[in-house]
């Protein structure tokens, strides 16, 4: 079969793709030289601060900022929401100020005169009986005949309650911007901590009535996003306005408490689940009553039942409307919740069937659809790496002592098709190569993947490629969300580079006495295929361009399929639970993950390792704890909004599924999938250890002890 010209090289022809290659911006980050938005210092810089609502639901009765304006060091004051406005969550923006120092700005905001009329609010979500008419019916879906299926004889039926709370993104670099206008006030440079470099100018321009063409957005480095940094946000808009009014650059990055309180909440999800299987373990029916809290918009139903397309099912969902601040996409939106609600329920069913969960999930792999074989392979691989056959036991560690060990497994899925991406590729007569595109590197390795793709195509080294991203001046590339970046940027880069190489080969072919199609770029040379004696170094070849650089554009989507969509993935947790203290300790976690053709194995493995750690964190520690008395978040700081530390993670094992059967699918994104399973896997491991289910995440010592007591095990 004739290959399409842009196709990825065959396995035997790849020199860089699929290797473990160090990230190219590693030295800049490790040495502290990488400049994030938070690090931008400009001459004459002013500092922005925001006065925020102390109430979860209130009407602003009166607002007087005259003393704020006259406070020392204040250069501009902007009312964001004026008297008469109804505030819907604590921490919502009301007044912004720009001053000569952060302290002066804080001093000024203390002089605000504001009166509120407090209104009723709801911030708790784990008890539907509190919700009244704030629990809005949000759909019933039915397929097959669940009533009939549940009434069949000889079924094993398991019923349970499962849930996971609202958590936040807790980006280490908080949200925010630095804005600076040109002296004529027409052009804005905005350093934005964003996952969406190319998309921000239009959004910001509309808000501040400035043509997008007059706005440059810069984000060389970003200190975490995880789905919370797609929009410019109200603070980004007001920052640009403060900068315009003062004629000075203004920096406004959220304080930590507001990063946690208003800059992103992952919706909760809770469900009562009933699930049935035949005695041989075949899953036949599902019924669930779920609810989710996503703030004012309520929370959507996670995709349940998850991964397994159970033939007879009915789902009923309620969206709970609360005053907790806005929900934002959180790495694999909806999926970690769906895994907890589904895979924990299925694990309880397997326990009731007295089946080994690996066997149970493998037996039902047919319900996963086209990736059934992949799941089977991943279940087997993960079980092997976790020493499942040696360490797993039926539910409840019966050995004496108060430390109980258990294993649990979960499965996940995600799309991850490459997004729209454009790039410019330049090959200069001096041999230098540049790839420029309006993308961003969230720490996933985007720069490195672009460099590897270009270097592989040109037969060069990774360090020979200059990668320019992080500015909206470069050709538009999609936002980095939903694991779409690697597929998008690698494909656009590949197409642009193949076209550039074609031009170079056409230029040098006469001097090698060959046709362009008989030449190849390999090992830093342009040579006649298979004959290195007829060759030019890359530099010699580029000199033949004279004074004219090659410039091409690459696009995705485009000709030849370089990627696809849809992955599986299996994770196994191995925990020890202290039944006296309730503390869960991670012994080991294993991840078997497919993502098609891997460009950089090193950063791919890092995505899985990081996702497992993030998963351990939300499984054991994280919760946005709301107080129904005050309407405020009780833990908007990093002492009490807990992240796992380096001593909390145990041993981590990653196995990337690669090679024949995987590589042919082309490039598929990886950021989301491995973060999905940890909640269910860890919850299942705890249940396997102590013999009872801890129904909701995070699995805190208090909840472990409560579950033991309820189960009569304490």
């Amino acid at each position: 079969m004739a290959k399409c010209k842009y196709d990825w090289p065959d396995a035997g022809q790849r020199h860089l793709i699929g290797q473990r290659i160090k990230r190219i911006d590693g030295p800049a980050k490790a040495s502290g030289k990488a400049k994030y938005t938070f690090d931008i210092n400009r001459p004459g810089l002013l500092y922005g601060k925001i006065y925020r609502s102390p109430y979860a639901h209130a009407k602003i009765k009166s607002l007087d900022v005259s003393e704020v304006k006259s406070s020392p060091g204040v250069k501009a004051v902007k009312v964001i929401q004026d008297a008469g406005t109804e505030i819907q969550w604590a921490g919502d923006e009301i007044v912004a100020v720009a001053a000569v120092s952060e302290q002066a700005a804080e001093d000024a905001l203390r002089k605000i005169k504001i009166e509120f009329e407090e209104l009723p609010f709801l911030v708790l979500d784990d008890d539907l009986s509190l919700a009244g008419d704030r629990a809005k019916p949000a759909g019933e879906q039915k397929s097959g005949d669940p009533e009939k299926a549940f009434s069949e004889p000889d079924l094993v039926i398991s019923e349970g309650f499962y849930g996971t709370p609202v958590i936040t993104h807790c980006c280490l670099e908080s949200h925010g911007t630095v804005s600076e206008w040109s002296s004529d006030g027409r052009h804005l440079t905005a350093w934005v901590s964003t996952q969406n470099v190319s998309g921000i100018p239009a959004e910001l321009g509309e808000a501040i009535k400035t043509p997008a063409t007059d706005i440059e957005v810069i984000c060389d480095y970003i200190g975490g996003g995880f789905g919370s940094k797609f929009a410019i946000d109200r603070w980004g808009v007001v920052n640009a306005q403060l900068a315009k009014e003062t004629g000075k650059p203004v920096k406004l990055l959220l304080d930590r408490n507001m990063e946690l309180e208003v800059a992103g909440a992952r919706p909760s999800a809770y469900a009562k689940v009933k699930v049935a299987a035949k005695k041989d373990g075949t899953i036949v029916a599902w019924e669930s009553d779920s609810w989710a809290n996503g703030g004012l918009s309520g929370g959507n139903m996670p995709p349940i039942p998850y991964v397994f397309n159970i033939p007879n099912k009915i789902t009923r969902h309620k969206a709970l409307v609360t005053n907790i601040g806005g929900a934002r996409a959180w790495r694999a939106p909806g999926h970690p919740q769906a895994a907890v609600l589904t895979i924990c329920a299925l694990d309880d069913l397997a326990a009731k069937l007295n089946m080994d969960p690996i066997e149970f999930f493998s037996k039902n792999a047919g319900l996963t659809g086209e990736r059934a074989e992949i799941y089977k392979q991943e279940l087997q691989k993960a079980a092997e790496l976790a020493e499942w056959s040696k360490l797993w036991h039926p539910r409840g560690d019966k050995r004496p002592g108060h430390i109980k060990r258990g294993l649990g497994v979960s499965l996940h899925t995600w799309g991850g098709r490459g997004h729209n991406s454009n790039c410019n590729v330049t090959v200069n007569p001096d041999g230098s190569v540049e790839v420029a595109l309006g993308s961003q590197d969230l720490g996933t390795g985007t720069r490195t993947v672009i460099a590897i793709t270009a270097a592989e195509t040109f037969g060069l080294r990774v360090e020979d490629i200059k990668v320019n991203i992080g500015s909206s001046k470069y050709p538009a590339s999609g936002a980095s969300g939903g694991s779409t970046t690697v597929g998008g940027v690698s494909a656009s880069t590949r197409r642009g580079c193949v076209d550039a190489l074609d031009q170079l080969l056409a230029t040098v072919a006469p001097s090698l006495g060959a046709k362009p199609e008989d030449l190849e770029a390999v090992g830093g040379r342009i040579q006649v295929k298979g004959d290195s004696s007829k060759s030019l170094t890359w530099k010699q070849a580029c000199q033949k361009l004279g004074v004219r650089s090659i410039q091409t554009t690459g696009k995705n989507p485009g000709q030849c399929s370089l990627g696809s969509s849809g992955v599986g993935g299996v994770e196994i947790a191995d925990v020890s639970v202290d039944t006296e203290t309730g503390i869960v300790k991670m012994n080991r976690m294993v991840c078997a993950q497919d993502c098609g053709l891997i460009i950089d194995l090193k950063t791919a493995e890092s995505q899985c390792l990081g996702a497992m750690i993030m998963g351990i964190t939300y499984s054991l520690f994280e919760e946005k704890i709301m107080d129904q008395q005050t309407g405020r978040m009780l833990n908007p700081n990093m002492e009490f909004y807990k992240l796992a530390g380096i001593g909390d993670i145990g041993e981590l094992v990653v196995h990337m599924m690669t090679g024949p059967g995987y590589d042919e699918r082309g490039v598929i994104g990886l950021g989301e999938p491995p973060v999905i399973s940890p909640g269910a896997a860890i919850s299942n491991a705890v249940a396997n250890a102590i013999g009872v289910r801890v129904p909701t995440l995070p699995i805190t010592p208090e909840k472990v002890l409560a579950a033991l007591e309820k189960g009569g095990m304490a």
Partner: protein, 210 residues
């Protein structure tokens, strides 16, 4: 003159929690017991600094830097905003996450929990002081080699903490590293790489010392 000795917590009404914590940390490092009653009548009148800007000098990465700043400015903000040494990051801003770690008189400290005026007369080393031009410190090299970073925002704090830790503990075990670096937090989840990087850096530092 050591201003730290004379400093006491501010006693204006309307102390924020943050101001209070900072005031308290001054008192502790100045040798006062926090339990000691702060009585205006009994104590000799303290030297009052501020609230306006005061001149101070900081010794950072071997250079003396003269600054004017309000006494309430933290060492972290002074480094970042006044000296453009932005490697130390502001994340939790209250001594929890370690992203602002710098070395003061040989010890790793949270720069967000120290006032700039407290740091006068101390020897401060930031991440910028650990590399020479493009030449990375061995700890940095180990972080790059082991991909002990993703977004990279916590990384400088980890590198400085690891360097300071290895100075005192040149042969750490994995468990010791987990304790020694327990004061730094990462959100992307780079701990697996960090553990390997610190083990590897320990080896290369010993090799370097011959």
């Amino acid at each position: 003159m050591n201003r730290r000795k004379e400093r006491e917590p501010r006693r204006d009404e309307g102390l924020s929690r943050r101001d209070f914590l900072r005031g308290a940390s001054v008192a502790v490092s100045g040798g006062l017991l926090v339990t000691e009653p702060v009585s205006a009548k009994a104590a000799p009148p303290p030297e009052v600094l501020g609230p306006g800007e005061v001149p101070i000098s900081l010794r950072v990465n071997g250079k003396v830097r003269k600054l004017n700043l309000e006494p309430r400015v933290t060492l972290l903000d002074a480094l970042r905003d006044k000296l453009d040494l932005t490697g130390a990051k502001r994340v939790c801003d209250r001594g929890t996450c370690g992203a602002c770690t710098v070395i003061m008189d040989g010890k790793p400290v949270y720069a967000c929990n120290i006032l700039a005026i407290e740091a006068e007369g101390r020897e401060i080393v930031t991440i910028e002081g650990l590399s020479k031009g493009d030449a990375l410190h061995p700890v940095m090299t180990a972080f790059v080699d082991n991909d002990a970073q993703q977004c990279g925002f916590c990384t400088p704090g980890f590198v400085v903490a690891a360097k300071a830790y290895l100075d005192k503990h040149p042969n750490p075990t994995l468990e010791e590293i987990e304790t020694g670096l327990g004061g730094n937090l990462c959100r992307c989840g780079t701990y697996a790489g960090v553990r390997q990087a610190v083990l590897e850096a320990a080896k290369s530092l010993k090799g370097g010392r011959g």
